[in-house]
Amino acid sequence: MLSEDNAFTTALQLIIGLDETLVGIVALSMQVSLTAVLIAAMLGLPLGAAVALWRFPGRGLVIIILNAFMGLPPVVAGLVVYLMLSRAGPLGELGLLFTPSAMVIAQILLILPIIAALTRQHTEERWDEYREQLTSFRVSRVRAIPTLLWDARFSLMTVILAGFGRASAEVGAVMIVGGNIDGVTRVMTTAIVLETNKGNLPLALGLGMILLLLVALINAGAFLIGEEARRRLG
C-alpha cells in the first residue's frame, strides 16, 4: 500500500512540477493526435456528406465498409501502415516508419472511418429534412455539402471529439508504427505500457491521470456542446 501511495504522490509531483520527460510525452501525444484528427476531419466530413447526398452503385457497400471500419482494431491499423511503410513496402522509400508522421497516418486510418460514417448519418438526417426546401432554392449537391455540414455542426463537433478521444487513447497502432522511441515517438499510451513493465509506476500513473483527465474533458465538452445545441437550436 505504502509504495503505491508513494507512487501516487510522486506522480502528482511530476505533474505539478511539469516534469520535462512527462511534458515532452504529453506534447507529442497532443501533436500527433491533433494532426491526425484535423486531417481526418478535413477528409471525413466532406466524404461523409457526399455519401449522404449522392446515390451511386455500390453506395450500400461503401456505407457498410465505413461502419465496419469504425471498429477497426488499432493493432490491425498499425500493422497495415507498418507493411506499407516498411523498407520492403510500397511506401518504404519515404522513410517514414518510426517517425511521428507514421503515427499520424496510422491514427488517420483509425479515425477517418469513424468521422466519415458518423458524418454520413448526421448529414443524411438533415438532407431528408431539407431536401425539398434546398431543391426549391435550386441548391446544387456540391453547394449542399457545406450547408449540411454547417447545420449539423453541433453533432459533428462531438463526432470529431470522439475521433480525438479514440486517437489519443489507442496504443496498438502507435506502438507498431512509432516504435516507442524515447524522445521521438514515445506518446502517453506507449509510455504507460513501458513504464508499467519497468515498474516505474509514478511516471505511468502521472501519464494515466493526464490521459484520464483528457478523456473526461472531451466527454464534458461533448456533453456541453449537445446541451447548448438543444438549448439554442431546438
Binding site: 431543391t135 426549391s136 453547394r143 454547417w150 447545420d151 439554442r232 437550436l233 431546438g234
Partner: protein
Amino acid sequence: MNDMNTAPTSATMLAMEGVAFTHRGHALLKDVSLSLSRHGNTIVMGPNGAGKSLLMRLLHGLLSPTHGRLRWHGQSGRPPRQAMVFQRPVMLRRSAIANVTYALAVQGTRWRDRRPQAWDALERFGLTEIAHRPARVLSGGEQQRLALARAWALRPEILFLDEPTSALDPAAIKAVEDAVIDFHHQGTRIVMNTHDLHQARRLADDIVFLCQGRVIEHNQADSFFTTPRTREAAAFVRGELVW
C-alpha cells in the same frame, strides 16, 4: 373537357401537357393538361390523396413527371424565378435572418446586398424583433411568416404554397392570407393548395379541382362556387364527401 383554357395562348405562363406521375406502379396523377395564365391566384382543391401536393411539386420542378411535359412560356422557355412555401416550414439551424440571407446567397445575390434585402423582407412581415433568434425555436406561425419573408426576398415571379395554413391558428392564417394578397399586388403569380373552402373563396381567381389524380374541373372561382360543372365539384362545394 372541363378545362377553362387548355390551349396555351400568349397569356399563358405555364402549361402541363398530358402529365402523369407513377410511383411504384401506382398512377398518382393521370393525364393532366393544364394551362396557367400569367396573372392571378390559382387555388388547387380536392379531397385528400387527390394529388394536390404532388401537382405543386411537379409544377415547381421538385419532381419530374413520368409522362408528358411541362412548358414555360416566354423567356425562351426557361423557368422563371420561383419559390415555394411548404405546409411545414423547413428552417435551417441558424438565425431567422440567416435563413433569408442563405436563400439570397444561393440565388446569387451579391454579398453586400443580402443583409439589407433580408432585413426589408423581415420588416415587411413584422419579424425584425426576432431576426437574430434561432429560426427553429420560433412558433409555427412565426416560422410560416419567416418562410413567406424568405420567399418574398427571392422576388419570385411565381409562388407555390402547399397548404400553408393547415397547421396554424386564425391569427396566423390571416397573416398568411394577407401575405398572399401582398405577393399578388406585387405581380407574383400564385398557385396554392387548400382544404378550406372559405379561404379559397377569399383568395381564388380560378380553381383547379383534382379528384383521384385527375383534373376534374378548371374554372373561374365564381362559377366554380356557384355553378360547378361537374358532379364531384358540386358535391365538394356543398361540403359533401367526394372520392
